[in-house]
Assembly symmetry: C2
Homo-oligomer: 226 residues x 2
């Protein structure tokens, strides 16, 4: 019979490892998460972790899964409110990756799509399908949204770099409807585009100029010449 006064053995389960790793990444960044460092924090020898995670990849996969579980459930709304639904999902994701700054890089480098990742995408997909989007359009809309479904836009250039020497300081356009961390404005623009596509019953196999390499602009894309 186990001695009840003794520490109850605290069996170092996967979840605690993941939580410790997440905590570590939150405070010290993803690079600070090493098997050795993590083990030390958990007061355990590095190899002990391998009873619970396959390897470091798996650890990070697990971390991502774990935080994605924090995503609040978005109450389903009327299908016609798809815009608002998308906003809600994206907003929740943005909050999440803001809370866990490392998640951005983690998400981007993940190769295996874990269930929670797929689930989020699936929820978004369903929003469109329920709103009556064709699977074709839905598919493309998801592409259109891209990483923005995670609340971040491609940060390859984040302000400050877009001013070129000799130009006026570009008069930061982010005046009222700020676009700063992930592109709220941008999302709206995309949603506008999307609803237009839908109304136009857009299909991917129509309206594309034939693969002619250049040509004299055979016809503008959809309608909208310039």
């Amino acid at each position: 019979m186990p001695d009840p006064t003794a520490i109850p053995r605290r069996p170092l389960r996967r979840a605690s490892i993941l939580r410790a790793a997440i905590h570590l990444a939150d405070s010290d960044g993803l690079d600070a998460v090493s098997m050795r460092g993590l083990a030390q924090i958990l007061d355990v020898v590095p190899m002990a972790l391998y009873r619970h995670v396959a390897d470091k990849e798996d650890l990070i996969d697990g971390m991502v899964e774990e935080i994605l579980a924090e995503l609040p459930a978005i109450a389903p709304m009327r299908p016609t409110d798809w815009r608002e639904a998308v906003r809600a999902h994206v907003h929740a994701a943005r909050e999440l990756v803001t809370r866990h700054a490392w998640a951005r890089r983690a998400l981007e480098t993940r190769t295996t799509r874990t269930p929670a990742v797929l689930a989020h995408m699936e929820r978004l997909t369903q929003v469109f399908l329920r709103a009556g989007f064709s699977t074709d359009l839905t598919h493309h809309v998801m592409h259109l949204l891209g990483n923005r479904i995670w609340g971040f836009s491609p940060e390859l250039f984040d302000e400050s770099a877009t001013v070129l020497p000799g130009n006026p300081p570009a008069a930061e356009p982010t005046g009222s409807g700020n676009d700063a961390p992930g592109g709220k404005v941008t999302l709206e623009v995309i949603l506008d585009g999307v609803s237009r596509l839908r109304r136009a019953k857009w299909r991917s196999d129509a309206g594309m100029p034939p693969p002619s390499p250049r040509g004299g602009a055979p016809r503008e894309h959809q309608s909208a010449r310039e």
Copy 2:
């Protein structure tokens, strides 16, 4: 006087290091590029490289700079042909990152914006400015394009993952106007949206719903209700 028959000392310049690194990355992936491995290929001791690159970061920066130099010059076109100009630039970039598969990850992880990176962005920016876009709109358009200016769309989900268990195999919508490697269709959709924004004289400080957290959809974004 140096013996002309002797190998002329081949001084292992920076450029040759970068070329070797690029070649290595092309064939074996970015992870295969290690200072030690690279040195071995160049038949030199690892530390020799450090006379030419500050550290590995700098090496990869250099690799990116080097391949970006491959970007062909796009002849300036009439400002009204801005769509075609954007296509040309993006297409060139896509070719590039296709030729060098590692470039995608390299670009994404770069923190310091090197001249060649800025140059590409600058060329794109100029296309819009010359076409009469306001700096405000241009700025947002660049955000809208995001990583697509490098010819790739956020690959977080690349087909095959978007089918959920129980659904039909989603009937790959990429029939004729294929969207496969980077989103040609998507680019067109965005360009359509962009030209519409321009015609509407869109400004970032108008049309955004106030930062009300949820609210009863105070007014739709631009026009386009639903």
